[in-house]
């Protein structure tokens, strides 16, 4: 029986580099090892899918692992996925396919530009088309979006029912029948989810107080479906995109304002590929621009210690870190404290890339929800308010502060905080 194969090496008897003598074993280098215990096939399977190419770039440096929010509560990150694929995991049918939230923190640090924002949707689409396992709750969100125009499965006719709680008139663009400065795309969660409606109503009051010439699409508004795209349902996204672009173009307006960062991402970064190139702005950026007019309206103190959670799709994906902070700092009485992970390194709430609709699936593969991890981080700053700027987050974090025993932390949209300062509630 032959013993273990010894790695072969080469060394130069005489070698001087930069005046340093490194002769003999000092310059010893191992020959390239012949890898026999795994094959590249399952890596190539991913890299062969259009969009999945960069998966093969990984050289296992592991910079991505500590910044991956899923790894903090499990075993994840591009490096690990690559290694799993090397050792037999077929990503198209593994549960790992559905855990990435496309938060982009790995891409930020990866020297080889392994791009999960491209890889994940591409591989997921293949899995969906091939009839492989798709988490049932995610399928439900797809089906709801296709059938009712929003992932919550609420009737289209009730899309503008929230405006009754605004306490100010909310103009519908079809009825105003004239060009407006701002077309406000409200979004599905602010239109239907009870806590989202709170933020939408607050926004309507703020825009009205500022004298903004705005209107909404009302019953003509449908979901942006960007998260459904990232979850692999590109066809659904395209179907919604065609409808939305046609609807946006039906009316005259100067700027499209969105409540949600995912909508910002869709309309600003993806719609141009479908021929829609118009100014799109998130409400935080928009209001920060109106800070001089806004400040005198913020009459009442909100005596709270507030920490702000950077939404991945506002921050890392769209580079807006300062506007939300400026708005919070403009509120009298507010003390703003930062969590350890903030701005570029902000921790993901778990809602992106379809994660919003996979909580029970994800729970089976992680030690705790990302939103729970983040809620605990928020509580550890001593803050009594966790401020958010994404409609996915209010419901996620409200659940998370409860389940982690941090009910004393209020989860509020920046819109709600501004509104409180304006109205003194």
């Amino acid at each position: 029986m032959a013993g273990p194969i010894k790695a072969k090496y080469v060394e130069k008897e005489h070698a001087v580099v930069d005046g340093v003598d490194i002769s003999g074993h000092w310059n010893r280098m191992f020959e390239q090892r012949v890898i026999t215990e795994y094959t590249p096939e399952l890596i190539e399977k991913v890299a062969d899918i259009p969009g999945g190419e960069s998966f093969a770039n990984c050289y296992q440096c592991a910079k991505c692992v500590p910044v991956c929010p899923v790894d903090v509560v499990g075993n994840y990150g591009p490096r690990k996925l690559y290694r799993y694929a090397q050792t037999g995991m077929d990503l198209t049918e593994a549960p790992e396919l559905w855990l990435c939230t496309t938060c982009k923190n790995c891409l930020r640090v990866c020297p080889k530009e392994v791009d999960m924002i491209q890889i994940m949707p591409a591989v997921r689409e293949q899995a969906i088309l091939a009839g492989k396992f798709v988490p049932p709750e995610l399928q439900q969100a797809f089906e709801n979006t296709a059938k009712t125009g929003n992932p919550l499965g609420q009737p289209q006719r009730k899309r503008d029912a929230w405006i009754q709680s605004a306490g100010v008139p909310v103009p519908i663009i079809k009825d105003v029948a004239r060009p407006v400065d701002v077309l406000w795309y409200v979004g599905s969660y602010p239109s239907y989810h009870p806590r989202g409606i709170d933020a939408a109503a607050a926004a309507a009051r703020i825009f009205t107080a500022l004298g903004i010439d705005f209107a909404i699409l009302g019953k003509e508004e449908k979901d942006d479906a960007d998260s459904q795209r990232l979850a692999g349902e590109k066809g659904l996204f395209e179907m919604m995109t065609e409808y939305n672009i046609e609807t946006f173009n039906k009316y005259e307006w100067k700027e499209l304002m969105v409540t949600g960062p995912h909508e910002l991402n869709a309309f600003k970064n993806v719609y141009p590929k479908y021929g829609f190139e118009r100014p799109v702005v998130h409400y935080t950026t928009f209001l920060a621009r109106h800070l001089d007019q806004l400040k005198p309206l913020l009459k009442h103190s909100v005596n709270k210690k507030i920490t702000y959670h950077d939404p991945c799709y506002l921050g890392r994906h769209n580079g807006e870190y300062e506007a939300p902070r400026k708005l919070l700092e403009a509120i009298p009485g507010v003390e703003l404290v930062e969590m350890g992970r903030n701005r570029e390194n902000g921790y993901c709430c778990g809602g992106g890339g379809g994660g919003m609709w996979m909580d029970s699936f994800t729970a089976k593969h992680t030690t705790m929800r990302l939103s729970e991890k983040r809620a605990m981080e928020a509580a550890s700053t001593g803050a009594n308010v966790l401020a958010v700027a994404c409609p996915f987050e209010v419901s996620r974090f409200t659940d998370a502060v409860k389940s982690t025993g941090n009910e004393h932390v209020d989860v509020l949209d920046i819109l709600e905080l501004l509104d409180r300062s304006m109205r003194g509630e």
Partner: protein, 251 residues
């Protein structure tokens, strides 16, 4: 195994139902696939997956938009799609059953699936009438179908959660209440792929039938009483409910 699914395209009730004259305003309402037909397509595809064969989906094109529904059915696993060019949005279930039977006759089906009812007519007539026209046995309220040879074991649901298993010899017509598994999701990406390649066979409507009923008037229900919201703490609310039940002689 020749499996046929007879489907209905019906006005959507997700939005307010607009009324014009003495019928639905068909021009300003969206049409959708009848919910029970979604179940029946799924059951048909499940049977095909279990014993082999082909699934043909056939429906009356009410407003010229049936292709979307047929593409969806093909994406879910149906093999052939046929549309009857009815173009009469007001065709009732009797008329549709006749047209469907004429179209299905030549397909020599072993099983015809139909949704047990639809939310427009709500009369559950399509299945039984197809069975009558084709001279086949009908079983409705079905929640699972297992085929073995030339007979099938069929689970039929009765009121109060009671179910019964029947053995039915083929050919048969089945009115599906629910498929044995929830209907699968067809990704829009796939539906779009199918839409580019699929061929839909067109047949002209043949024959005539009528329910003998004429619509006199159609109107949205008039709101009369309003619900009373009882406010206060849970104790106060409970006390008020007890009081209310007593005053109505119920407690």
């Amino acid at each position: 195994m020749n499996i046929v699914v007879a489907i209905k395209h019906i006005p959507s009730i997700a939005d307010d139902l607009p009324v014009k004259g003495n019928n639905v305003d068909f021009d300003s309402v969206d049409f959708v696939l009848n919910e029970f037909d979604e179940q029946s397509i799924e059951q048909a595809v499940l049977v095909k997956e279990a014993v082999g064969g082909t699934v043909t989906v056939v429906g009356v094109d009410m407003i010229g938009e049936l292709d979307n529904v047929l593409h969806l059915a093909l994406a879910k696993g149906a093999d052939k799609a046929v549309k009857i060019t009815g173009d009469d949005p007001a065709a009732d279930s009797h008329m549709q059953a006749k047209w469907l039977s004429e179209a299905i006759k030549g397909m020599s089906p072993n099983i015809v699936f139909a949704g047990v009812q639809a939310s427009n007519d709500l009369d559950g007539q399509i299945g039984p009438m197809i069975a009558a026209y084709l001279d086949m046995p009908y079983i409705g309220g079905v929640s699972s179908v297992e085929v073995a040879g030339d007979s099938a074991t069929v689970n039929k649901e009765f009121a109060g959660g009671v179910g019964a298993k029947y053995s039915v010899s083929l050919p048969m017509v089945v009115g599906v209440q629910a498929a044995s598994k929830p209907p699968r999701y067809a990704p829009v990406s796939k539906v779009r792929q199918v839409a580019q390649t699929a061929t839909i066979e067109k047949v002209a409507p043949s024959g005539e039938a009528s329910s003998g009923l004429t619509m006199k008037k159609m109107a949205p229900p008039v709101v009369t009483g309003h619900a009373e919201m009882i406010e206060g703490s849970s104790k106060e609310v409970a006390a008020k409910i007890v009081e209310l039940l007593k005053s109505k002689g119920l407690a």
